[in-house]
């Protein structure tokens, strides 16, 4: 049976003055904490337990790289054994076969090898260090992520005008930019741009062939502070970035070879670049070059500093194959449900584990062989936390938005459980962010959306929402379901989705 629900405009949301969004995710009782089992993983004693990298080995043991350069492996009996030490701000960890781990640290991509099988690395093999460092504190290095092509992908942070550069640098200095090397050496950063790229490949995604042993190539430009790099279940390279200059709200970029992903500073590393200072280019021209984000982490409501993506394994039921991201600033994670529309991968961001019990600082994510999600925390000099939280794979998923898909006339929203029709209401609006040099962006061009009809599927889990107006490309479409409950009377956790429409029509 099909239940047609004819609405005439459920749209009361006036174009808001930007009041705090009443994030639909602040329920009276903590449904998330009731639905999921969270626990703290005991960390090694006597260390700074901010987590830079976290991964499970083939044999199921947990390997963790910590802030001050130690790598520990948690043994099956729960004790920790130190595997390596002395690394410089490791920010990613990847198992690489028996007894080896690959880490991305500030100065290089390094393979840690235990050649005599005593459980301790005895060779720190430099796989790739052919990139520049000015000594600027913000030149973090992220990754690696292993692609379906067997190559490793890493992301290099820009420098920040919060500091200058060292007298002595690594790599060839680029003269492109208003601030001189002398000025930056003496800490005068005013004309440098808020974030800057004066040595090779800062702000770029790099591909290192053959599992890190082969040649390195510039894969994509346009990043600012890409503290999250990984592949989705279909092998797409996902890299997120942090709200700031040229980043109205933190984007999720679906990165293709040769793409420019929005922040101009790194354009100077484009092979054959002859257009001078990219910061001096007209915004229109940058906009034309720019690959639009496939998803947007809404500043405030979802994430101010998104981090590592991870793919839900089979044990997470209907969420399997979807992507979950960490978030530094809030006690929350974010799910991304993507689909291909008109040759573009785009989709919806949905709040996840939005509970104080999780705490903030959610930096590195990995699923254990038993499906438990492990979240390593950090803060550095920002808001955040420390330690490791374990979230069991649920025996059954609670009531959630399972997925959101674009249709020819609107959206199809699927829930993990049958919904209670009496509690159903949808509020739809669209907005977008400005693409400009300034830090962040207000939501602009906000408009409520007219809903023509809601049609609930026979199993009462899928709602087809038809809009009374065309879907607009370039807009984030917010679908919120305040107060919605399952047929069993449970509240739907995280009842809001933000769908980034790059393309509105499937290719025919």
């Amino acid at each position: 049976m099909i239940i047609p629900l004819l609405f005439l405009s459920a749209t009361i949301a006036a174009p808001n003055p930007p009041t705090a969004a009443k994030s639909a995710a602040v329920p009276a009782k903590d449904g998330w904490a009731e639905a999921f089992a969270l626990s703290q993983v005991e960390v090694p004693a006597g260390i700074d337990d901010q987590v830079g990298g976290l991964a499970f080995l083939d044999d199921g043991r947990l390997a963790v790289a910590f802030h001050r350069g130690e790598v520990f492996i948690r043994q099956t009996d729960g004790s920790w054994k130190q595997f390596a030490e002395g690394l410089h701000e490791p920010l990613g960890l990847l198992p690489d076969g028996k007894g080896a781990l690959i880490v991305m640290q500030r100065p290089e991509l390094t393979r840690l090898e235990d050649t005599n099988n005593d459980g301790k690395a005895d060779r720190y093999r430099t796989l790739w260090d052919d990139f520049g460092m000015t000594g600027n504190y913000h030149e973090f290095a992220f990754g690696p992520a292993r692609g379906p092509d067997g190559a490793l992908y890493v992301a290099l942070n820009l420098a920040s005008s919060g500091a200058g550069v060292f007298k002595e640098i690594r790599g060839t200095w680029s003269e492109i930019g208003q601030a001189s090397r002398q000025q930056l050496m003496s800490g005068q950063t005013k004309t440098a741009g808020r974030m800057y790229s004066r040595v090779p490949y800062r702000g770029c995604i790099m591909r290192i062939a053959d599992g890190g042993r082969g040649a390195a190539e510039l894969y994509a430009t346009g990043f600012r502070s890409p503290n999250g790099i990984g592949f989705d279940a279909q092998g797409r390279l996902l890299v997120n970035d942090n709200q700031g200059d040229w980043r109205g709200s933190s984007p999720l970029q679906v990165v293709t070879k040769g793409s420019f992903n929005g922040h101009p500073a790194s354009l100077v590393w484009t092979p054959g670049w002859d257009k001078g200072d990219p910061l001096a280019l007209p915004v229109d021209e940058l906009e034309k070059r720019r690959q639009a984000p496939g998803g947007v982490f809404i500043q405030g409501e979802l994430s101010n500093s998104p981090t590592q993506p991870a793919v839900f394994p089979k044990s997470w039921g209907a969420l399997a194959g979807q992507v979950v991201f960490g978030e530094m600033n809030a006690a929350r994670l974010v799910r991304f449900v993507g689909e291909d529309i008109g040759g573009v991968h785009q989709g919806a961001m949905i709040p996840f584990l939005d509970t104080k019990a999780l705490r903030n600082g959610n930096h590195r994510l990995a699923f254990a062989p038993d499906g438990a999600l492990h979240v390593g925390k950090t803060h550095l000099s920002w808001a955040g936390n420390n330690g490791i939280v374990r979230i069991e794979a649920p025996k059954a998923l609670p009531a959630l938005i399972e997925s959101v898909h674009l249709t020819a006339t609107g959206f199809e929203v699927r829930f993990t459980e049958a919904i209670d029709l009496a509690s159903y209401q949808v509020s739809l609006r669209r907005f977008r962010y400005l693409y400009h040099v300034r830090y962040g962006s207000p939501k602009t061009d906000e408009a409520p959306l007219l809903v023509r009809s809601n049609i609930l599927s026979k199993d009462r889990r899928t709602m087809a929402i038809e809009l009374g107006e065309p879907i607009r490309e370039g807009f984030i479409h917010e679908l919120s379901f305040p107060g919605i409950r399952s047929a069993a009377g449970e509240e739907i956790l995280g009842p809001v989705a933000y769908y980034q429409v790059v393309k509105s029509q499937r290719t025919r």
Binding site: L6, F7, T19, R106, D122, R125, R170, E301
Partner: protein
């Protein structure tokens, strides 16, 4: 069927009027909390300090938030919060004052709570003074320490004393060098031109924890192990080369093999297979 409609103007007015202290908390959490903690300076000043500065000056607080300027050395300029609007900023101001009530500024930790004596040998990659940014610090058994610069593949600094104090680096999130503890005995000046001639390959660590650095220089492959030798250091090399190699020696360094003319040491490929540089130190 449900039908909801309403007039636009009254709603707008209502939503502005509704900006209350409650919203101040949410607005703070969504827009400010990443950089402003209640009682501790992180990226920006704490709510305790903001309250001291602006408690009775909401208008100045709003003006600053709309158009911030760089005010403090070594602190990043705050992005404008103009998009929040005056009413919301007033609510944030109110919340910050409420939230800091009864709190005291937590002093910045002057010393590292995790400080421990160096394990000798010990290796730590770190930002160090007067070398390149890809530096590796090593504490040797005894009281000597050195820096091997992975950027130009050279021994750059030797110092005698305790190893490192990295707290300045950690507490500033990498904006400061670690301090070399003790007395610096040798520091070679920068020569960025060397970078093009070398390729750093990494290091192995022996059972005692002592590193052997591996790198290529002008096509020759070097293995270098540095050990304490009396009051000085012995730099033991194993080099695979097809042509003679030339090294520039600093004033403290000599070599028993090869030919030294002024400060240039030349070794044949056979001599280069195994040789030692002796570094005399005060």
């Amino acid at each position: 069927m449900r039908l909801r409609c309403s007039t636009f103007a009254p709603l707008l007015a209502l939503s502005v009027a509704l900006v209350s202290a409650q919203d101040g908390k949410l607005l703070y959490e969504q827009n400010c909390a990443a950089c402003h903690l209640p009682n501790q300076m992180v990226v920006g000043p704490s709510l305790v300090e903001i309250t001291k500065l602006y408690q009775k000056k909401p208008q100045e607080f709003i003006a600053w938030s709309i158009q911030p300027v760089k005010k403090r050395a070594g602190v990043i300029e705050m992005p404008s919060m103009a998009h929040l609007g005056e009413a919301n900023l007033r609510a944030v101001h109110g919340y910050m004052i409420t939230a800091s009530r009864g709190l005291k500024e937590k002093p910045v930790a002057k010393k590292d709570l995790l400080v421990r004596p160096a394990r000798r040998p010990e290796i730590q990659r770190m930002f160090l003074p007067n070398v390149g940014p890809a530096a590796i610090a090593v504490a040797l058994p005894g009281d000597l320490n050195y820096c091997f610069d992975a950027g130009d593949c050279r021994l750059r600094t030797i110092w005698r004393g305790d190893f490192l104090d990295c707290w300045d680096y950690y507490k500033s999130n990498g904006k400061a060098f670690a301090i070399l503890l003790g007395q610096t005995l040798l520091n070679l000046p920068a020569d960025e031109s060397l970078q093009k001639r070398v390729k750093f390959l990494g290091y192995t660590v022996d059972a005692a924890g002592l590193p052997t650095f591996e790198y290529e220089r002008d096509g020759a492959r070097f293995r270098e192990t540095i050990v304490a030798d009396g009051k000085g250091l012995a730099r033991r090399f194993e080099v695979t080369a097809t042509k003679p190699i030339t090294l520039t020696l600093d004033a403290a360094t000599t070599c028993a093999s090869g030919v030294t003319v002024q400060d240039k040491l030349t070794l044949t490929p056979a001599e280069a297979k195994s040789f030692t540089l002796t570094v005399r130190l005060p």
